[in-house]
Amino acid sequence: MIEIVNLHKYFGQTHVLKGVNLQVNKGDVVVVVGPSGSGKSTLLRCINRLEEVQEGEIRIGGENILSKTADVYRIRCEVGMVFQQFNLFPHMNALHNVTLGPTVTKKMPRRDAEALATELLRKVGLSGREHSFPSELSGGQQQRVAIARALAMEPAVMLFDEATSALDPELVGEVLSVMKQLALEGMTMIVVTHLMGFAREVANHVVFMDDGLIVEDGTPKGIFENPKTDRAAAFFSKIL
């Protein structure tokens, strides 16, 4: 469903992605691991074109989203993104945060959008908090609103960019359980995380990135237990 071919990305002179190849099938839960600075977040951000790409192809459902004629606004509607820092809109309540995307970009009638948002907030366990502002919610609750906000666009794939890294340890679980639930429902997900437990339990596909390249690509069991490269073995020995 998503096919990334020979992707290169530069920040000025710095070569951050050095020819990444990745195949993601419908319903896959891909976990991307690797040391910081290896290009994991950049790779995710390229998939909804938050970053300009210098070379390569990203195909979603057969369409090269990097082509000059691609409709970047429509593509972003098909790719949901959850950020490390939540990035909720602080001047809008939870419900309004979720309805914004559908009403503005999909021209969904307000009434329908609110029904959808109420349902999605229920799904992430936030019934009754529709009218709370982000400042009145805990980090875990904010991140769950952010997940509902991304889901409201009815995306074909969800990207999670270290979605639990900014949370207090005791709040991580509530966000992970929402992510697990999504995975069980068959959502295609690409998850950048340092939580190997989540990778083992939920992922069916793990990639290890180092220095702008995917150096290991396989099943969680295969990668964690029998890493083929020294770099991956050294990384896992430190964090597992």
Partner: protein
């Protein structure tokens, strides 16, 4: 005392006439300078040098010269270039450009204070640049922009008095004219000052009520 009240009654109609001009210049000045300021700020924030450089130069020239000189320029020099404006128009135009330059920096600072993550989150929802600006960035930047913008508008109101020098019969000029014929300097300029205080207080109240509207819950 009766004498003072009589003088008051004698001078007031003329001062009110002047106040109407002051209000007219100020209201037009605030509206136009805010529009110019917003447009200039968008140019300054543009990544294209062809757009941001000329506006940066314009703003530096405007900030670097006295408003009075700018007014003389618009009123006395532009006619030589074939652009003849009435005194009132010249006053409004020079105030609008001058304060537009100040307001551009206020808008730019307010917009830049909104974290990049807000742009990215809205972008990832498929919103376009102008939609993000209107629905996400400006409503949040408003609480940062409004206090300095309000102060700047109050200074604009007071600087509308400079129009007196290019013959606009606004409040200060009306006062001058009365004082020069009656020699009642104390009474006349005290009345003028009081009217300015009244006007600035009203403007300050308006700004305050707008600030309350954008306060975060």
């Amino acid at each position: 005392m009766q004498n003072l009240i009589n003088k008051f009654h004698e001078f007031l109609p003329s001062l009110i006439k002047g106040t109407q001009y002051t209000i007219e210049i100020t209201v037009l000045g605030i509206i136009l300078s805010t529009i110019f300021g917003f447009v200039f700020s968008q140019a300054l924030l543009s990544k294209r040098k062809l757009i941001n450089r000329p506006v940066r130069i314009l703003i530096n020239v405007v900030r670097g010269t006295p408003l009075l000189v700018q007014m003389f320029y618009v009123y006395f020099v532009l006619p030589d270039l074939g652009i003849t404006l009435g005194a009132l128009e010249a006053a409004v135009l020079s105030l609008s450009i001058c304060y537009g330059a100040y307001h551009a920096e206020i808008f730019r600072a307010g917009i830049m204070s909104i974290p990049l993550g807000q742009w990215e989150a809205a972008t990832s929802l498929g919103l376009k640049h102008h939609q993000i600006l209107r629905r996400i960035v400006l409503p949040q930047a408003a609480r940062i922009i409004l206090p300095p913008l309000g102060t700047s508008c109050i200074i604009l109101l007071k600087d509308s008095s400079l129009a007196s020098v290019i013959t606009v019969r606004e409040l200060t000029r009306s006062g001058q004219l009365i004082a020069s014929t009656t020699f009642e300097n104390l009474t006349v300029y005290s009345m003028v000052a009081l009217i300015y205080i009244l006007l600035t207080q009203l403007l300050a109240l308006l700004v305050h009520s707008m600030e309350r509207k954008y306060r975060l819950k």
